[in-house]
Amino acid sequence: MDGGGGSRENVMVGGAYTEEPHVLAVDDSLVDRKLVERLLKNSSCKVTTAENGLRALEYLGLGDEKRTSLEDNVSKVNLIITDYCMPGMTGYELLKKIKESSMLKEIPVVIMSSENIPTRINKCLEEGAQMFMLKPLKQSDVVKLRCNLMNCRS
């Protein structure tokens, strides 16, 4: 993923790479939310979970309700990891909304899916997803993710 280095620094504040990156994990499955949360916490990440795209966007400040301090949650989120198959707004649709937002587009987005479909993967990567991960997630996947997150800074 490429882009203006300067603006990215403003979004990823708080020593994201040396301390605890704040990850927003989106998945409609309760089991998977619990699993991804534990995996991320084990890799020293702070985790917020959301059960669907709408809730995720609300958390990020793009919801219907107008907030006075839109920047609060946004500046704290260093990574968004989302399931692809979700009822209502899919992970792909969520990815598009994030990339279309000037406020959010610098935040790396990772898509997870239980299905290994090359056209799906390419579609997401073309839309700006940082990575595509196959479920079920394992500890080694999250380690890879953290390395990837560190590298994208350079």
């Binding site: 499955s29 309760l30 089991v31 998977d32 619990k34 699993l35 534990r38 995996l39 084990n42 198959c85 009822p87 239980s114 479920k135 079920p136 997630l137 394992k138 500890q139």
Partner: protein, 154 residues
Amino acid sequence: MEVVQMQRAWVEYTKSLFREGFLDAQFQQLQLLQDESNPDFVAEVVSLFFEDSERLLSDLTFALEQQSVDFKKVDAHVHQLKGSSSSIGAQRVKNDCIAFRSFCEEQNIEGCQRCLQQVKQDYCLVKSKLEALIRLEQQIVAAGGSIPMEELSC
């Protein structure tokens, strides 16, 4: 029973569950995520899986009883069950779901009903086995012992 005997029983029981295909490597991933600071992680995730599965199996039963079966809905439920069973390593249930989805695609009612019976059977089996395993773990811990995860790789 002494702690050592319980630990040995735990190892044997766990190995048999893998050998007989009830559980796969993903379950080991869950076990790896459990430690002193998260001593009930496996029990918690498994419990979420039970709740989720029971709801889905009930929805599936209802959906297949309809005069006009909505195969898209049936498939959506099976997809969810496949996802959560895959995430916790409940291999037989996951494989049953894979077969189930093919029948959904073919819009084959009898095939779907057979699959539903099969998945219910395998779900009940894995549920009672996981409950027994977790009970044994709790007994070991209550007796002051630890769960000998490292012995699984022998």
